[in-house]
């Protein structure tokens, strides 16, 4: 067990920092610290240009294998990249669903043709992706997916019908990966397919969902005879569950460290305000700031354990990965409350009418979704108890 980085890694760190310093300016200066959760709708166009700037420098998909066009960075280097990226205040990545989810899935489960067709656009930062998982009334329960995919022999295409919801970045995206039921008679995990679907077609309609923040990062996506080429199903019809489960694993990668640096930026802002407005002398606030700091630090250590493949005490399960979502989501929700309580009554005053929120206000409201999307805290606790502790599964209707 060792915390320090090698001299080569430290050199890599300087390289990243230097590149960011040199490039995150001019037209990109305004993007600093923007585009995070609750702020994802801001500067979408400028941030896509930034995506391409990154690609020019070879800074997209740094963890992808070299044979698929990535930089082939080691875990340590990925950690460093994400840390420096966030430290520099570089903006929230509009390409992160492609880079972090779609790409790795296509690399792991996709055909060579799919890899050739889709990976370059992700690498170049020119093609954006979104995720078609949740459905109205189904919550986080993939087994309840009702969107149907029927193969039209005449057209030689899959025809999709149904509705997805809570799809972020759907307006900006070029592609969506969609879980749909290929076998209309099937139930639960069986009979699902995993599709790569172009968003630029008449069969797809995107409607923004107005959120608690007044803004619309999340969308409903309606599929009305939307088409998908025969070769754009990943794996076979019926493999959807397997692919989706594999993809879940990619969500708990090095990107958590970048997320944490965003959290750190938020906490830094809170500390700055507390010092300025005297809340830092309020003993109850002191305890809460210290608690937030303590848990954020540990969150980082926990990610380092995840990345080092440290297993749980029984040597079998990655328990530190199992608890991660519940931990960070709950932490982040508390951070939002802390931000408001540090601001005191000033927390209630907006930047401008009619409903322009400050960054911290937006964060405070937006974090309420953290404990809901991607499996609510309640679902997470079920998963932890069942997979991590071997407790009985929730009864399911037959």
């Amino acid at each position: 067990m060792k915390l320090s980085f090698s001299p080569e890694d430290e050199a890599f760190r300087r390289e990243v920092a230097d590149w960011l310093k040199e490039n995150l300016r001019g037209e990109f200066e305004q993007l600093k610290f923007r585009g995070g959760p609750g702020d994802e709708h801001m500067f979408a166009e400028e941030r896509q240009r930034w995506e391409q700037k990154l690609a020019e420098g070879g800074w997209t998909c740094v963890g992808w294998p070299k044979e698929h066009g990535g930089r082939g960075c080691s875990i340590e280097q990925q950690v460093i990249f994400h840390e420096e990226y966030a430290r520099a205040g570089a903006p929230g990545r509009v390409g992160h669903i492609g880079e972090g989810l779609a790409g790795p899935t296509i690399i792991a489960f996709g055909s060579e043709a799919q890899q050739k067709k889709y990976l370059p656009g992700i690498l170049a930062g020119t093609e954006l992706w979104c995720q078609g998982y949740s459905e109205p009334g189904a919550g986080s329960d993939l087994a309840n997916v009702k969107t149907r995919a029927r193969f039209d022999e005449a057209k030689g295409k899959w025809i999709l019908n149904g509705q997805k919801v809570w799809t972020s970045l759907a307006q900006e995206s070029d592609y969506c990966f969609v879980i749909a039921r290929t076998d209309p008679e099937s139930k639960g995990h069986k009979g699902l397919g995993f599709f790569l679907v172009s968003m630029h077609q008449p069969g797809i309609e995107v409607r923004g969902i107005q959120q608690i923040t007044g803004t619309s990062e999340f969308n409903e996506v309606f599929f009305d005879d939307a088409e998908c080429d025969a070769e754009d199903i990943v794996g076979q019809p019926g493999d959807g569950w397997k692919v989706a489960m594999g993809l879940l694993g990619f969500e708990r990668g090095v990107s958590t460290l970048g997320q944490q640096m965003q959290f750190q930026n938020e906490l830094n802002e809170i500390v700055r305000i507390a010092k300025e407005n005297g809340a830092a002398q309020n003993p109850a606030i002191r305890q809460r700031i210290a608690q937030a700091h303590t848990e954020l630090k540990i969150m980082r250590y926990n990610s380092m354990r995840m990345l080092s493949g440290q297993s749980g005490s029984d040597g079998s399960l990655q328990k530190e990965a199992l608890i991660y979502k519940l931990f960070w989501a709950t932490w982040h929700r508390s951070l939002g409350e802390l931000a408001m309580d540090v601001l005191g009554p000033e927390s209630q005053i907006l930047e401008a009418a009619p409903y322009e929120l400050s960054r911290l206000q937006s964060m405070y409201l937006f974090v309420r979704s953290d404990t809901i999307y991607g499996g609510t805290n309640e679902i997470q606790r079920n998963i932890i108890a069942e997979r991590g502790l071997g407790m009985p599964r929730e009864p399911r209707p037959a």
Partner: protein
């Protein structure tokens, strides 16, 4: 001892509930909260004209109904529950209370009947330092300066976080003599809001159901007859006004906590997941049970505080308990409402996060009301001072 509503009180409560369920619908709230005024004048006129709620605890001598703080709390509970957008809280719980506690006989005779007729009012006492240290709501938050000039006073300063401050027609203003601090040197004045020297700016707020304003006083010149109570020695009166307002705020919060619970339970019975209503999952049931526990505890705290408030107004034997009872109620209700609203949002899942459902309105009102007149921590520290110092 009878710690239950009388039949008359129960009737007042039920009437308020029925009326508000009908008029303060989700649509009505939304259309009111999007206006600068923050309420529908027609509804306010109906309340003042048909129901006479604004006169509820104003003595009959001034044209009021002569009821008390308990009846007021019963009504506020329902207003908090249905998120009524109206100038009721500012006019009645700040303005009328201030006049009743600190007004001269002439001022009461002049303004209380007009409030009974629908005049709106509010209290402006906090400067920007109210936001320091997480929130300051005591005498140290009074920052505006009042200087004597012969028979007149000249007021200067910025007042912030004033409920309905941009729309109220009558202002009660707190200011202090230059060079004083803490509880010393504070005076109260009553002044029409449209007077020269008063500039008012609406502050856009996260909770849109209750408006706040900043009020700038620039050489506001006031005649001697605007002075309420003793010059430079009004803190005890201001404190009592604030304590009454604190109880009133807690009553609204308790109503909001109840509604958050009700919305969550109702939704959980309708919403199915994994093949059954989520109301059947123990995680949801237990969360709801904790919400109900908090609500009922909050209710007990509010009813008690309202009884004490009534004794404080009437000079009963428990009058001295008002500060403690108000802090107990506000500390508990602030936390209970915010916790319940947050839990309600979580039980709603994704839709709780949308603008369309009402649960976010409660989350926002909960935080706003927590930070008005002092958070749970703030009031617990006040209780600690009574116990430990």
């Amino acid at each position: 001892m009878q710690f239950a509503f009388t039949e008359e009180q129960q009737m007042i409560r039920d009437t308020a509930e029925q009326f508000l369920a009908e008029v303060s619908t989700s649509e009505a709230i939304r259309s009111a909260m999007e206006t600068e005024l923050g309420y529908q004048p027609e509804l306010w006129q109906r309340i003042c004209g048909e129901l006479y709620w604004q006169a509820i605890h104003i003595p009959e001598a001034y044209g009021g109904m002569g009821l008390g703080q308990v009846e007021l709390a019963a009504m506020l509970e329902q207003m908090g529950r249905y998120l009524l957008c109206s100038p009721f809280f500012s006019t009645v719980c700040l303005g009328a209370n201030a006049l009743m506690v600190a007004g001269t006989e002439a001022q009461k005779e002049k303004y209380l009947p007009r409030i009974c007729e629908g005049l709106t009012a509010t209290l402006a006492y906090t400067g920007i330092s109210a936001a320091r240290g997480g929130g300051r709501w005591g005498a140290d938050a009074v920052e505006a300066i009042a200087e004597r000039d012969g028979d007149e006073f000249i007021l200067n300063g910025t007042l912030r976080f004033v409920p309905d401050g941009a729309s109220a027609e009558l202002l009660i203003v707190a200011a202090r003599a230059a060079g004083t601090s803490g509880e010393a040197g504070i005076s109260l004045f009553v002044v029409p809001a449209e007077s020269p020297g008063i500039e008012r700016k609406l502050l856009p707020t996260m909770d849109q159901t209750r408006k706040q304003a900043e009020i700038v006083l620039s050489d506001l010149r006031l005649p001697a007859d605007t002075l309420m109570g003793a010059e430079g020695d009004a803190w005890p009166q201001l404190q009592k006004i604030l304590q009454l307002a604190t109880v009133a705020q807690a009553a609204e919060q308790m109503g909001g906590a109840q509604q958050s619970l009700d919305l969550a339970v109702e939704y959980s019975k309708e919403r199915a997941q994994f093949g059954r209503p989520i109301a059947g999952f123990q995680a949801i049931k237990h969360k709801a049970a904790d919400m109900m526990t908090r609500t009922e505890v909050a209710r007990s705290a509010v009813y008690y505080a309202a009884c004490v408030a009534e004794e404080a107004v009437e000079g009963g034997e428990l009058a001295g308990e008002l500060g403690e009872a108000a802090s107990i109620a506000k500390a508990y209700c602030s936390d209970a409402y915010f916790q319940n609203a947050g839990d309600a949002l979580q039980i709603h899942g994704g839709v709780g996060f949308t603008w369309e459902y009402d649960v976010h309105l409660h989350l926002k009102r909960a935080k706003a009301s927590e930070h008005f007149l002092g958070s749970g921590d703030y009031h617990r520290e006040r209780v600690a001072q009574l116990l430990l110092d």
